[in-house]
């Protein structure tokens, strides 16, 4: 059941055109989920794969996602790559500079938990130590399909969040979504 069907339910035909009737909450959730601009920054090897996801073959713009250079205009932060101890404060600051509502995707083993550098003293063991992470994407580096799956799951979550708000339920606790290895998802 996509946005399309829900919109069709609210479409009323009048002579000479159509009127769209929908609940504000639905439209809000729809707008938020279909226009997630992400912050331009890449930290290491995973960033290359993130760029590949945005470029010709996989094309993130299909989902309305493109990269904005300034945190003030971004909605999603894709942390792609390992975070050194010196880098961490800057990532935190960038996160704080983003306007609400904002989401974080930890891409790859390093951003999720330290990855191959787990034993290094200079690498932070996962960005979730200082910013709340919504989606963890498996891989070293994750395949573009995996990252896209993570983005789609995040879109679903954004929609659900607002539906819960609309029905007067408490906002669901933001439990992280974990995207497993490609192929294992079924």
């Amino acid at each position: 059941m996509g946005v399309k069907e829900r919109l069709e339910k609210g479409l009323i035909k009048v002579p000479g055109g159509t009127i769209l009737i929908a609940k504000m909450a639905d439209i809000m959730a729809w707008a938020r989920k279909s226009s997630m601009w992400s912050l331009t920054f890449g930290l290491s090897c995973c960033a290359i794969e993130m760029m590949a996801t945005a470029a010709s073959r996989y094309d993130l713009d299909r989902f309305g996602m493109f990269f904005r250079a300034t945190p003030r205009q971004a909605d999603v932060m894709i942390v792609a790559g390992w975070v050194s101890v010196k880098m961490a404060p800057f990532i935190k600051r960038l996160y704080e500079q983003m306007p609400e509502p904002k989401y974080v995707i930890a891409m790859g083993g390093c951003a999720s938990a330290g990855g191959p550098y787990r034993d290094s003293i200079t690498i932070v063991k996962g960005v979730d130590q200082f910013v709340p992470v919504d989606v963890y994407v498996y891989g070293c580096p994750p395949r573009p399909e995996n990252l896209i799956l993570g983005i789609l799951k995040l879109q679903e979550r954004i929609r659900r969040e607002h539906l819960a708000e609309k029905n007067g339920l408490p906002k669901p606790v933001r439990e992280p979504i974990i995207i497993p290895e490609a192929g294992a998802t079924g």
Partner: protein
């Protein structure tokens, strides 16, 4: 029924002005929705991608979603910002765009305000845009914004001069400052673009127009690789949306202005005039996007040198030719 409506508005000119203002402002807000979508599709086409695809049929609702989302975002005003100027800068940019749409003839009689100095008015009003960019850059209290704002002013002012000179060539050639009269002249005597001095003027206008709307070879004010996002770095949510909208509406306007000056405005066979205007505008917008997504960015000194050392002298000489050939 229609006659009654017309009579009603004739009796209440103030109401009629209000209606026109509302229509123009909403038109200026709607145009970017279409232009941005086309831009993203064209960009996708040039980079062998697909562009927006999943939001609405073929991504047509993408920009609607973007606009709604920007409306709903948190509105951040930096602590150190000069609040008053920070608040009004986007609206000044937007109002300057709406004002320039005011004198644009879309079809015979389809002009919000018939003005006999329309060309002058447009040039004056479009300079407000520069003011708003400088305001935004200065009041954000951010080094990137400030640099972006200053660069924008340097660039826009130096390109304004050859642009005005090339527009003046048209004015001298057709002997009128009114856009409607310029178009009517072309309906009678053939499009201006086919006359040699105007041809060069059109070329100069095209280059300057690229610079005026910050398109790629000249997109230094928001050079992402060096200035984060230029003058709008600190803007979020709705205020940023106004900057974005006015930029793309300006894109539309500058091509519509060119259509009226060089390509005969609404003139064309078979199809109704309004269709011709939009056809010409969108073909030109496509060319602009084509340029935007192909060449790389220039340096600021190269840009300024190009304007002052080449474009200004050439357009001055060209203006002399236009005066010599155009005087009746």
């Amino acid at each position: 029924m229609i006659a009654a409506v017309i009579q009603f508005f004739e009796q209440h000119p103030l109401l009629w002005t209000f209606v026109k203002a509302v229509v123009l402002a909403s038109f200026t807000l709607m145009i970017p929705l279409a232009v941005i979508w086309i831009e993203r599709k064209v960009a996708g086409f040039i980079q062998s991608r697909l562009g927006p695809l999943h939001v609405g049929p073929h991504g047509t609702l993408q920009t609607v979603a973007d606009a709604l989302k920007l409306l709903l975002k948190e509105d951040i005003v930096p602590d150190g910002a000069d609040k008053r100027f920070f608040y009004i800068a986007p609206y000044i940019a937007f109002i300057s765009t709406v004002l320039s749409f005011m004198v644009l003839p879309f079809a015979p009689g389809w002009v919000a305000l018939e003005m006999n100095v329309a060309v002058l008015f447009v040039i004056g009003v479009s300079l407000f845009n520069v003011v708003s960019i400088l305001m935004a850059g200065w009041s954000s209290n951010n080094k990137y914004s400030l640099l972006g704002g200053l660069r924008a002013v340097a660039q826009l002012l130096s390109y304004e001069i050859p642009m005005v000179l090339s527009v003046l060539a048209v004015v001298f050639y057709t002997g009128s400052l009114s856009l409607t009269e310029i178009v009517e002249y072309q309906v009678k005597h053939g499009w201006n673009i086919w006359h040699p001095p105007i041809m060069i003027a059109a070329l100069i206008y095209f280059i300057c127009a690229l610079a005026e709307i910050n398109r790629t070879p000249f997109d230094l004010p928001e050079a992402e690789s060096e200035l984060v996002s230029g003058f709008n770095t600190e803007y979020s949510g709705m205020r940023f949306a106004f900057f974005f909208a006015s930029e793309f509406a300006n894109n539309f306007f500058i091509t519509a202005f060119a259509a009226a000056l060089f390509f005969g405005g609404w003139d064309g066979p078979i199809l109704p005039p309004i269709v011709w205007t939009f056809l010409k505008v969108f073909v030109m917008i496509f060319v602009f996007m084509w340029v935007r997504w192909t060449p790389p960015r220039l340096r600021i000194d190269q840009i300024l040198r190009f304007a002052w050392q080449l474009l200004v002298p050439v357009s001055l000489v060209n203006l002399l030719f236009a005066i010599a050939l155009g005087v009746k």
